[in-house]
């Protein structure tokens, strides 16, 4: 009944959506209007949208799903050898399911590297032949509560961070970060790569394990919140978070592994992206908390395998909806150029899925030049993501936006309605197996992954 009586002296404020003429007619009466910059939904989505929007479960389902996502309290509880969580004879990889035949250069390179690391092949050719013959089963990280940056390959003798959601009880894993340049996750598998991985298995993993046993769980929600206020967006910039983690762990590292402490701390200190992996596991455990709410149109995973970009929705279980992975647009290292770039790869888009990364760009003016752009572009990117998300994160805030919470919880119906695709920051892997990283930038997800997910949700919509 507020409509008729509660008019403030300033007069009503009217949201107008559609014909500009009607907005003008209101302004001619000195009425304050808020015009919506409306445009038709993505081509071919009108029917599916109508069905999904009419699903009586959707509103409550989305509220539940996104509240689980934003209330998750990820804690770093330990590190484990991947052998403890991997099924026998299986390697994990980033993105939706893929076969060796369809795998791109960097994924193949990383798989070859894993074969050599595990001593399952004598050399590169032998490894490729065995992989092609299916001697190792390839499964997506996401199917095993895991995420992996870039190629995302996890084999038994690699170590993973273990992150637990103290709110909902879930657990997620992510590999340990090797550093930049020639690294396995970018598809490099040379001897320096394998030597580093062996050192990580023999020294870094056990040292971190002993360290975390001493420190007890590290509150990643709080650490991420602080890092956002220190200029990280937790995907392409993790310098503040890495520093914060290092400060948290350093005394315990010295106590737990006195002989290796210097090497461990130097390694962590030498890699600004060390925290990316705990951030990804934190994002994974948070988005997993939002899974499996029937009728929900919330995106719970975005991931790329170097060939396909895949999306999963809360209301559709473990089904993947894919489109071709695009080539990122960004800046290149040294003499590399766009011709050297592999299509988009990695599970690190889990950060964007949980309201970090590209969605938190406005928190990270320092990276805009790295991904090519101006500070105003970063602010615009974050602002635009509020148009396709269901909530503002209660803990992850952006000082430059008046401590507004980051946009979180992509709603596939809002993607279809606005035509806005998620903003994704990413590293760029070399196209050819064995190259490594060639740059970093922004990538545009394929629209068909989202429209296919929407269509599938429409098929299951309740009347």
């Amino acid at each position: 009944m507020n409509l008729l009586s509660a008019h403030p002296s300033a007069g009503p404020r009217v949201i107008t959506v559609g014909a500009g003429l009607l907005d003008e007619a209101l302004r001619a009466q000195a009425v304050q209007t808020v015009p919506v910059s409306w445009r038709p939904p993505l081509p071919g989505t009108a029917d599916a949208l109508a069905r999904v929007l009419a699903d009586p479960r959707r509103q409550a389902a989305n509220e539940l799903a996104v509240s689980r996502l934003t209330s998750a309290r990820p804690h770093l509880v330990g590190v484990r050898r991947a052998a403890e969580i991997l099924p026998e004879g299986t390697f994990l990889h980033a993105g939706p399911p893929i076969t060796w035949e369809r795998a791109s250069g960097p994924l193949r390179g990383a798989l070859i590297g894993a074969m050599l690391l595990e001593e399952l092949a004598g050399d590169e050719r032998d490894a490729a032949r065995k992989l092609a013959a299916g001697e190792v089963e390839l499964r997506p990280c996401h199917e095993h509560a895991t995420v992996g940056p870039m190629a995302g390959v996890v084999s038994p003798s690699m170590w993973v961070f273990e992150v637990r959601d103290e709110e909902h009880g879930g657990t997620a894993y992510c590999s340990l970060n090797e550093g930049l340049g020639k690294v396995l996750r970018y598809g490099a598998y040379g001897s320096e790569v394998l030597e580093r991985l062996r050192w990580m298995d023999a020294v870094l993993g056990p040292a971190l394990k002993a360290t975390l046993e001493r420190t007890g769980p590290v509150d990643l929600r709080s650490l991420i919140a602080q890092a956002l206020q220190m200029g990280d967006e937790l995907h392409n910039r993790n310098r503040a978070a890495t520093s914060l983690l290092l400060r948290e762990l350093a005394p315990a590292v010295v106590e737990a592994a006195p002989g290796d402490a210097a090497a461990v701390l130097r390694f962590v200190n030498g890699n600004d992206h060390f925290f990316l992996n705990p951030a990804m596991a934190a994002a994974k455990v948070s988005t997993d908390a939002a899974r499996d709410v029937p009728g929900s149109s919330l995106v719970v995973a975005m991931a790329r395998n170097g060939t396909d970009f895949g999306v999963q929705l809360s209301g559709l279980g473990g089904r993947w909806f894919t489109g071709p992975a695009g080539v990122p647009d960004g800046l290149y290292l040294g003499t590399y150029g766009p011709g050297d770039a592999n299509p988009d790869i990695g599970d690190s888009t889990i950060t964007e899925t949980s309201g970090l990364g590209g969605f938190a760009m406005a928190a990270s003016p320092a990276i805009v030049r790295f991904v090519g752009g101006e500070v105003s572009d970063a602010v615009r990117a974050t602002r635009s993501m509020y148009e396709i998300t269901l909530a503002e994160h209660p803990a992850y805030q952006i000082p430059g936006l008046g401590f507004r919470g980051t946009p979180v919880g992509i709603d596939v119906t809002l993607v279809a309605r606005t035509g806005l695709l998620p903003v994704v920051n990413t590293g760029i892997a070399g196209r050819v197996a064995g190259t490594g990283q060639v740059g970093a930038g922004l990538v545009r997800p394929p629209v068909e992954a989202f429209t296919a997910a929407l269509a599938a949700l429409a098929e299951q919509a309740a009347e």
Binding site: R13, G20, R39
Partner: protein, 474 residues
């Protein structure tokens, strides 16, 4: 003349642009240019105005600036343009002219002069109603194409905001869902296909300028409400609020949810002393529910069931119920001199309810509702775009009497006499006009009346009286 305009809701898909005359394609001095702007969206009314401006330029044979809908691509093809691939989200600029480059440049200038939706501020404009509602608002006005109106209206209702859905073509199942949802968030859904509303003095959609007063109106028909309130305004009686509910609200499927809510709202409104309920024939079950609800109200209700009650009669009954005198409704007889030879009535209406009322009162003749979907496909509503009615006048015979409405107010043609009076002057037919509007309307009612009268028409502010007069002339 092909229908190459952009329809304006509440009739049809409002996305298209206006075209120029066909047939100039043969002029060898002309050449065609067709451009596609990916993802540049403008609403149809804006584009129609730009198309119209381009077509009026010297040396331009045809111009169409429109979104790439199937409909618009079809129109372009009919106009003889070679049509590129385009999505409904892409903007098409098609020009056939002696110097298409100059016309395209002018199109660019006009497009860039369109006020950005954010009012030019640094803030990014909201892209959905839900996003806009986060900033706080009192009301939402939805006029997107009907098939997309549900999403925006649902956002409004979810945000607890009353919504007026100007768009038509919204499926009745969606209307039912919206109105059910509105029950849970306690807000009013006006429409779909709600042409007019006045809330606390603010006119929404096609709205006359009305003084504040004691009468609240609940109306299933936009032009019906406009007629009743305009007459009341003439009688010196203002309105508190005019709440449109949409033509299907009293159907069994929708169950009168908005009518019942609007009645309760007006009953609770201290400014409303009398309620006029303008309705179309309700389904029997709903009629009983409405009767029962009306019985419970403290505020007296004057029901006006169309077409049994004419709208003028409804206004008069409202005045009598308030104990106020019923005035003579102003009219301006035609300048004499033209002897009518009319034998039949040709109704040329822009308001569906007004046309139906006139047909009932006149009891004879052939009536066309130019606001019907069949006529607004590919062009604007006749309250904005006079083209079809100008043509109808040109084709009228001297044995015919043209009975037509001219509706004033916000949102309507800013100067209907500018185009229609000329056509009235030239037609051999006798013309009687129902001029629906108030002295406060931006078009200047007296000037409009004078112009039509000067052109030879008899002008009435009461549509029923206009129809009776028409009958008496035969």
């Amino acid at each position: 003349m092909s229908g190459a305009g952009g329809p304006m809701s509440p009739a049809g898909d409002p996305m298209s642009g206006a075209g120029g005359p066909v047939g100039a394609a043969q002029d060898p001095a002309n050449s065609d240019t067709v451009l596609v702007r990916k993802g540049a969206y403008h609403d149809s009314v804006t584009l129609m105005r730009i198309s119209g401006a381009l077509t009026a330029l010297p040396g331009v044979a045809a111009a169409m600036v429109a979104m790439g809908t199937e409909l618009n691509l079809g129109i372009l093809r009919d106009l003889g343009f070679s049509v590129p691939a385009a999505d409904p989200g892409d903007l098409l600029i098609a020009v056939r002219a002696h110097d298409p480059g100059a016309a395209v440049e002018e199109a660019e200038r006009l497009l860039s002069s369109v006020r950005p939706p954010d009012g030019g501020s640094a803030e990014q404009p909201p892209l959905t109603t839900g996003s806009a509602a986060r900033g706080g608002a009192d009301l939402v006005l939805v006029s997107t194409p009907g098939e997309h109106a549900f999403a925006e209206a649902q956002d409004a209702v979810r945000a607890g905001l009353p919504v007026m859905i100007f768009s038509d073509g919204v499926p009745v199942a969606q209307e039912r869902l919206l109105k059910e949802l509105a029950e849970s968030t306690d807000v009013l859904v006006m429409g779909p296909d709600c042409g007019t509303a006045v809330i606390g003095g603010v006119g929404l959609g096609f709205a006359n300028v009305l003084s504040p007063g004691p009468v609240g109106v609940v109306a299933a028909s936009g032009t019906g409400a406009q007629q009743v309130t305009s007459l009341l305004d003439w009688a010196g009686t203002g309105v508190s609020h005019v709440l449109g509910v949409g033509g299907r609200d009293l159907s069994a499927e929708v169950g009168g949810l908005s009518t019942l809510r609007a009645l309760r709202m007006l009953d609770d409104d201290p400014a409303t002393e009398l309620i006029v309920l303008v309705s179309k024939p309700p389904s029997p079950g709903v009629a009983a529910a409405v009767r029962e609800a009306v019985g419970r109200l403290r505020t007296p209700v004057v029901p006006a069931l169309l077409p049994e009650t004419d709208l003028t009669e409804a206004a008069e009954r409202a005045l009598r119920t308030l104990g106020r005198p019923v005035p003579e409704w102003p009219s301006w007889p035609a300048w004499s001199g033209r002897q009518t030879r009319a034998k039949t009535i040709k109704g040329v209406y822009s308001g569906g309810t007004l046309g139906a009322e006139a047909a009932t009162v006149a009891g004879q003749g052939e009536f066309v509702d130019y606001g019907d979907d069949a006529y607004t496909r590919g062009r604007a509503h006749p309250m904005i775009d006079p083209t079809l009615r100008v043509e109808a006048l040109a084709q009228a015979h001297e044995s015919e009497l043209v009975l037509m409405d001219v509706v004033l107010g916000h949102g309507a043609d800013p100067d209907p006499a500018a185009s229609l009076a000329h056509a009235v002057a030239r037609t051999p037919a006798t013309v009687v006009i129902a001029l629906v509007g108030t002295e406060g309307d931006p078009q200047d009612l007296h000037r409009q009346a004078a112009a039509f009268r000067e052109a030879g028409a008899a002008v009435f502010t009461s549509n029923a009286q206009a129809a009776r007069h028409a009958r008496s002339l035969l």
